[in-house]
Each structure stands twice: as C-alpha cells, then as structure tokens.
Amino acid sequence: MKYIDPHIHMVSRTTDDYARMALAGCVALTEPAFWAGFDRSSAQGFFDYFRQLTEYEPKRAAQFGIQHYTWLCINPKEAEDPGFARDVIALIPQFLDRPNVLGIGEIGLNKNSRNELQILEAQIALAAERDQLILVHTPHLEDKLKGTRLIMDALRANGKIEPARVLIDHVEEHTVKPVLDRGFWAGMTLYPDTKCTPQRAADIFETYGNERLWINSAGDWGPSDPLAVPKCHQELLRRGHPASFIEKVSFRNPVEFLGQSPKFSAPA
C-alpha cells in the first residue's frame, strides 16, 4: 500500500533503508532538520547540513522512486546559546526557495527554557515573514505537556500564523486533544520505547478520529524504525479498520497538509 512518511531523518539512515521503505510502499517522505546527536561546533556545520538536505538526500531518495522534501531550522537542543542559534537562523533564508523545502522545522522546545523559547519565537517570525509551513517538535517525556502548551501560545502570540499551516508532532494521549482543539494538525511518532507504539497510535485514532492527524516513524540515529509506519498499518488492519482508513491517515492527510506548500506535488 502506498504511503508517505512525513517525518524521518534519512541523513541518519542507510541506503538499504530507502530500499526497504520503497518496497513497503513509501512514495514520499519529509525530513526536518534536527539535532545530530552532538552539538555542531559552528554555524557553518549547519550550512553543510542544509546542503545535504536540499541537494544530496533528494537524489538518494529518487533512486528508489521516493520524493524527498525537507524543513530547515535550528533545533531546540542547540538553541540554548541564542547567539549561535541566530547565526544559524541567518543562514536559512537563502535555502528557502530550493525546490524541496516545504517550510521551517522541526522547531519547538526541548527543556522549555527561556532561550529555547526566544529562538522558537524568532523562527516562527521567519516562517510568518516568508509564508512557510511549520513543523513542530514537542519535548520528551515529562517536558512534553508543558512544552506543547508553551509552543501553542508562542504560535498564537505571533499573530500571523494560521493553525492549519502548522503540524505539531510527537503528540501523545495527553497532548493530542488540545492540539487538535486549537486547529493545528497533529503527528504521532512511532518509537519503540518513548512516544507512541503502533497499538497506541491506533488507539488514539479510535479515540480522536482521523482528521488533521498523521503518523510518522521519525527514524533517526537512535532506537527507531524506518518501517514503523507500515507496521502501524498492519496494526490497524489487524483490528479490522479498512484500507481506506490507512489511505486517509498515511496518504490523503499528508497530501492535504503538505499540499499547502506550492512545492509539494502529490505522488501518483
């Protein structure tokens, strides 16, 4: 069954993973800029990363018939030094017109600190100014609930951001409803130990419906699974949800949200 994985960090994955995803039906993916597992020593490190995301990865994906889109930002884990973060933000505008860039992301918070919030606000302002879609990372574990609230408040405080053009990712049972109630899109991330399992993602669909909600693998360099999305499809099928349900959450919903960017073209 064809599907879109709307959040996966392919720079951290092997070419074999592209091959396996293509075999499983992946036709498009979007790759937000994130933390590399270590802090970059200079803003220039991000310049190279943004080139990798906009030049190299789309070619690697195309070898397997997968469309590759991306989101650019400085991630919240490297936002505790605002001077450094602003140097990185200054690099972003020159990349925004590249053909696979859909917007700003994954911006958000990590430990809910003042500096992180200041850098989040600056990137929300950049998105507003350049009319970009936004992909939001919400914090981990005990920090998620508070961080999700702070992020939604910052988005509203900007005054120019339409909630329907923002996807708030890594929602769980305690954050999905407030996100949807405020008009944002929501993403569920399928991780083995933290975030959602395929079973819980299916539970959340059964509880909150399948409008403005999608699933992703957020596959990266840590414990994660680039085939988590099709594995969640299996869980939905096992319960008796129809194939049209899967097509809705893993194809039509991503096409609807991402299609708000003129650069996104729905895969055939």
Binding site: W35, K111, S113, H140, E142, K144, K146
Partner: protein, 103 residues
C-alpha cells in the same frame, strides 16, 4: 468516526485474544520491577520522584475511570507553566522532579 463508543472494530473477546498475553506479561514485568526495587537498598534516600509518580499512575489503572493513558502521562508531566531560566541538560528523566520554574 461513528457516534458509537465502540470505535475499535474488534469485538471485546477478539481484542482479548489479540492482546491479553502481551499485556499480562507487561503487568508481571512491572510487578517484578517493584519487587526488584524492594531488594535494592535505598541507602536512606527519600522515595525517588520517579517511583512516586509511578505509584500515582498505578492507582489510575484500577480506579475504574476512562482516559487512563492520558491521566497516566499527566502523572509524569511537569505541571508548571513558566519557562525555566536555563536548560540543565538535553535529556529527560521520565517524571517531573518537582523543581518548579524560578521567577
């Protein structure tokens, strides 16, 4: 979504067939984990904030009310509203350590 409260397409008996053994095993794991902690010397330390949150969460499982997953997650969450002055680390611990944001 249908208006019925039965939004899982599986009849309950089938859902039990599908998931009972897996979750029975998880519950026994949890019981064994608590036994393991009893065998580990606390060395005079007060109850750890993670264990306190876990005990609170366990009570939710048997209170007979719904939305258990949401409420369990809330037990482990920082309930404060203000940003903290500085990020002390990059990672997270899984439960809130009770240190409120200082103004």
């Amino acid at each position: 979504m249908s208006a019925s409260k039965y939004t899982c397409p599986l009849p309950r008996a089938k859902a039990l067939d599908a998931y009972f053994l897996e979750h029975r095993a998880k519950l026994i794991d949890l019981a064994a984990f608590l036994d393991r902690l009893d065998r580990a010397d606390p060395q005079g330390a007060a109850e750890d904030f993670r264990l306190a949150a876990l005990r609170q969460a366990l009570a939710i499982l048997s209170d007979g009310r719904g939305e258990r997953a949401r409420r369990v997650l809330e037990c482990f969450s920082d309930p404060t509203a203000e940003p903290i002055p500085k990020a002390p680390m990059k990672g997270a611990l899984g439960a809130w350590d009770g240190k409120a944001a200082k103004p």
